[in-house]
């Protein structure tokens, strides 16, 4: 079974509705039920025949005497001893529940992998156990030494397996440089894929390297290598249903984590505290990055928050048919900054959407009725083992040049101390032919900075007919 080797970054699973219909920004390595099924089918139908017909290296060399293939083989031969598959087992099960890849980064059996590979073990230390499996088939126990949820990294330690550590290169390769990614995709064995490093992802809050090469579920946590076999990144995610758009965590974050971890495994409570503090630091830096006057955009006379920062990605659409009784403009903005903490829990994300309506045909009663239900979007996502119920305040409030109905709701996290989710719904009360409904969703924020941001967000709204 292929499960949970992946990084969830699906906006539809974050707090609030997903409006990201046009542009799919789903970064995962493989794991929701649907993906798992697709990949499982692929492994059964696609991989088996390939394995049967796979040319031997000799015949491959005879057919395609390209230097690149030899280079991939050389790179793999060099790093092979330092790579392990990481498997997670529930209880005393002998069949694994999740798996990923790790590579040696320090002497004494210290391996780097993704946090999302070992997240279950970290969250439920007594329920799960980790094992490594070398390419030769040797197995042994692993313990988590430290995590960096902001960069989706974790360091694990093997008691009885200490291969030579791989070396990091200081800088990311230039765009267009040949690169390799190593791991255990879909549990079909050690694999190297060849691709191109395309530099840092533009407009991303967390730094990621764009790698144009195949990364599939199970390769998470594996190294991304240059032609010399040096590590410049860690496999982390890819776009589902897209072709070879994959992402790597820059090697410098892995090095930084390696430098920080203790020699002995910390207590589970210490790991929990570290995760909470990293989540708080993440939300603080997200709000910090949105300091200063907020960028706005105008729709139907309303000035509304827009592309607040380079990493805020907005898309907008409208009603093309002039005969519609109500003309609408819909603006969606997302930061996609949410951290994967565990299945069903992302924190430190911010997104908002505006639905601006105008009419020449409807009377005020029908128009305001339409506005009432438009962009109501009151459903929120979230699981009760992670968060508490919402507390809400709704009032009519004087904004710049117009009055609006504000509904502000917040709920607190159960395990992660001092983190809150926020939903703000703003509906204009001034117009009989113009109006808007706007919704801001923030997850995993500290209370006071978030409230201060929400106040700034509301203050940026203005009626300028």
């Amino acid at each position: 079974m292929f499960r949970h080797i992946s990084r969830f970054r699906d906006p539809s699973r974050s707090l609030g509705p997903s409006y990201s219909r046009g542009r799919t920004w789903r970064m995962r390595a493989a794991a929701l039920a649907m993906t798992a099924a697709t990949l499982a089918a692929g492994s059964a139908v696609g991989v088996a025949p390939v394995a049967a017909q796979a040319p031997t290296p000799a015949s491959l060399n005879a057919a395609v005497p390209a230097a690149t293939s030899e280079n991939a083989r050389d790179v793999l031969a060099r790093v092979r001893p330092s790579i392990v598959q990481i498997k997670g087992f529930f209880g005393t099960n002998t069949a694994h529940e999740f798996h990923g890849t790790g590579f040696a980064v320090a002497d004494g059996g210290v391996f780097m992998t993704n946090y999302h590979v070992v997240a279950r073990k970290v969250q439920h230390p007594t329920k799960y156990r980790l094992e490594y499996r070398t390419p030769d088939g040797t197995t042994g126990a692993l313990e988590v030494l430290g995590v960096d949820v902001r960069h989706d990294l974790a360091i694990v330690k093997a008691a009885d397996h200490a291969p030579t550590p791989l070396t990091f290169v200081a800088a990311e390769p230039a765009r267009g440089t040949r690169a390799y990614s190593v791991g255990f995709p879909l549990d079909v064995g050690l694999t190297i894929t060849e691709g191109v490093s395309n530099g840092m992802v533009e407009e991303s809050f967390e730094p990621r390297i764009h790698y144009s090469g195949a990364i599939n579920g199970g390769m998470s946590g594996g190294p991304a290598l240059d032609a010399a076999g040096n590590v410049f990144g860690v496999n982390v995610s890819h776009y589902r249903f897209q072709q070879l758009v994959s992402f790597l965590v820059p090697g410098r974050h892995a090095e930084a984590l390696r430098a920080m971890v203790p020699a002995a495994p910390p207590l589970p409570a210490a790991l929990d505290a570290a995760i909470a503090s990293q989540a708080r630091a993440h939300s603080a830096s997200l709000i910090g990055a949105l300091a200063g006057p907020l960028a706005t955009q105008v729709a139907a006379g309303y000035v509304l928050p827009g592309k607040l920062a380079p990493f805020v990605q907005c898309n907008a659409s409208g009603t093309p048919d002039p005969n519609q009784p109500v003309q609408s403009v819909r603006i969606n903005c997302q930061t996609k900054a949410g951290l994967f903490l565990q299945s069903g829990l992302q924190s430190g994300d911010l997104s908002f959407s505006h639905s601006v309506l105008s009419t020449e045909k409807l009377d005020p009663w029908r128009f305001t009725n339409r506005l009432s239900w438009n962009g109501a979007g009151f459903a929120a996502s979230g699981q009760r083992q992670h968060v508490g119920p919402f507390a809400c305040r709704d009032r009519s409030v004087k904004l710049n040049g117009f009055d609006a109905a504000l509904t502000l709701c917040t709920r607190s996290y159960r395990k992660l101390a001092d983190l809150y989710d926020f939903i703000l719904v703003v509906k204009s009360l001034n117009g009989t032919q113009r109006g808007f409904a706007s919704r801001l969703t923030m997850t995993g924020m500290e209370f006071e900075p978030a409230m201060a941001f929400i106040q700034r967000y509301v203050a940026a709204m203005e009626w300028k007919p």
Partner: protein
Amino acid sequence: MNASATTLPGVGETRTTVLVEVLDRHGHVRLIERIQLDGARRTFTIGRSVDADVVLDDEHVAPLHARVELTADGRLLAGDLGTVNGIVVDGVRRKDGGGLLVGGTPFRIGRTQVRLRSSADPLAPEKADRHEHRLHISSPATLAGLAVLLFLAQESYTSWLGAPRDLMTAFASAVSLKAIVVAGWVAAWSLLSKILIGDWRWLRHLAVALGIAIAATAIDAVVTMATFAWALPSWRNASIWTSVVALAVALYLHLRNAAPLPRGRAMALAAIAPLLLGIGTTWFYERLARDDVRRIATQTRIFPPYLRLRPAETTDAFFKTAVSLRVEADSGRKSMSADDGDGTTAD
């Protein structure tokens, strides 16, 4: 109006009329037999035989079952003529040969309810009739017609407000769906009326059902508008309690029309079920809300700006009071019921 005597009974040559009324099980008169008695003939018989003075078509009645005698002082006394079933007076089966006082109150012969009346029996005074107009507002037909019109008006307003492009389809589908529900409800109550009091009364039940539904919808709309006008905090259980009150009133009116129940008992019956329903639903919702981490209870309905009667507060005031949300969210989290997962809380 049924009994008449040409002279006072028991005085000389009297001629008295006795009415024998055969009643159905709801107490409605189904058959009237008029018996003339005088000085020469002071008794008559009841039975299944054609020789009886009053013939009852009832297999539990003997050929000659009872003899009734008009006494000199005008009382009607019955006697059993040696039958198997006797005469049931005031719920007691009697086989007395005579002397059973039966004037004015129904008694049973076989399975037939019989009531005897003579001019000596007291009559209730004439009841005033205030129905002066041909079309009276409180007649069931008028009320039902009015309710149907109001219902259609309300539905067309709602459809219009929704502003669909195909207004007629929206209206027809909304009306037909509700019509089916109302028809079922009215049919059930009419059937109950027929069973309990022998009358369908479907117009009254239709008037009650539609009237209360319209009133409840109107009250709900007024509450929503008032909430908007004065910017009141929305009360999430408001619609539950509007429904409870509406249901109680509707049940009371239905019961009064469907069963021979006194006012007090009908009120108690009508109040208990909706009250329990309301308390149960509220409890259930509150319980759900306590653990529902996705629910946002408030729903802001927007109306035209000229309906607003209360000035908006400033942003500063809003955010100053919103600080208390933190405490509310924390206490909501702490009062969640024990988790089925790993529900250890942060503190």
